[in-house]
Symmetry: C2
Subunit: 193 residues, 2 copies
């Protein structure tokens, strides 16, 4: 099960991991299975661990006063799920994260991760790269959200992330884009002619 993680890490660093490093990583990442709909994080709890997704799909969302869910992140294989703010600040999370499909995760706490990063420089490098890519992706999404119409936002998303479009139902994609499912349905109909 840890193979997927080794592959992921090796793809993001210069020299491949040594046997010893792999052993250290294996010892620190705890496997966990979630069945569809099970929670990984619930609003109000502190996010103590982050999870690398080996297999499956998850979503992160907040729930507003009216009970409406707002999807802030969608995750599939090779993504890291967690609430960074809660995890770093040790504050109760405003988000829920649950499994959309049956999911296999590898879990690690922030403290363990920091420790591992000291022991395995390549891992530290990988995390930095991951953070950068993440920052870039967030910047793009933010920019798209404040600059573009719902239609353009969807087109952009669908062309950049076709895997998500085919994997998650439309109403989740709509929420992720900050629009209602009805509006997305109409946008797609429109785009089709």
């Amino acid at each position: 099960m840890h193979e997927a993680l080794f592959t992921y890490i090796n793809r993001h660093i210069g020299l491949p991991l040594t046997i010893d490093e792999e052993a250290l990583i294996e010892a620190n990442f705890q496997p966990k299975k979630l069945r569809k709909k099970q929670y990984f994080l619930q609003e109000g709890d502190v996010c103590k661990q982050i999870g690398f997704i080996v297999k499956g799909a998850m979503r992160q969302y907040s729930v507003d006063d009216k009970g409406v869910e707002h999807i802030v992140h969608l995750y599939i294989e090779n993504y890291w799920a967690g609430d960074r703010e809660s995890s770093i600040m040790l504050t109760p999370s405003k988000y829920n994260i649950d499994a959309w499909e049956d999911t296999e995760l590898l879990l690690i706490t922030r403290a363990e991760m920091l420790d591992l990063m000291h022991k395995i420089p390549a891992l530290a490098q990988m995390i930095r790269t991951m953070d950068e890519r993440n920052a870039i992706a967030n910047q793009r999404r933010l920019s798209s959200t404040i600059s573009n119409s719902a239609e353009k936002r969807y087109e952009e998303f669908a062309s950049n992330h076709p895997q998500f479009v085919q994997r998650f139902p439309q109403h989740l994609i709509a929420s992720f884009l900050g629009i209602t499912k009805e509006t997305l349905s109409r946008i797609r109909k429109q785009a089709f002619k």
Copy 2:
């Protein structure tokens, strides 16, 4: 002029910088003055440097097909201005950054910064903290943008960032929030009764 940077760094690390470290930093950050409206970065150029703002105010924005500006960031003292995506990927930027007020900056290239981070561990730690805070702020902004109405977004922004509200004109704040200046004007009028 570098004093402001030392103060900033010391506020974000455990032990204060040594004399030698301060000298090294001073040697690597190049002072630069921009007059109001001067560009720091123009769309199409690669962002080669990032700038620490010692004094002044700047804005980062894209310009759409219709010529409308969309403000993606507003900066004041103690902020770092730059386009991370362009800087890391060495791709032409989609953004402009210019001085809203006369501004004093300290500039450094990415390569120089990475080098400095190796030589001064505390600086590396500071940058990591800065990145984390930034990631958290972006996450919050994104969440607010997809979940809240224009009115709520403005209220949240005004209460979290009063300095910006008093320092930048309303039409820039509006653009930053992804709404028009007329809508913001009406929201404020509404809120006032």
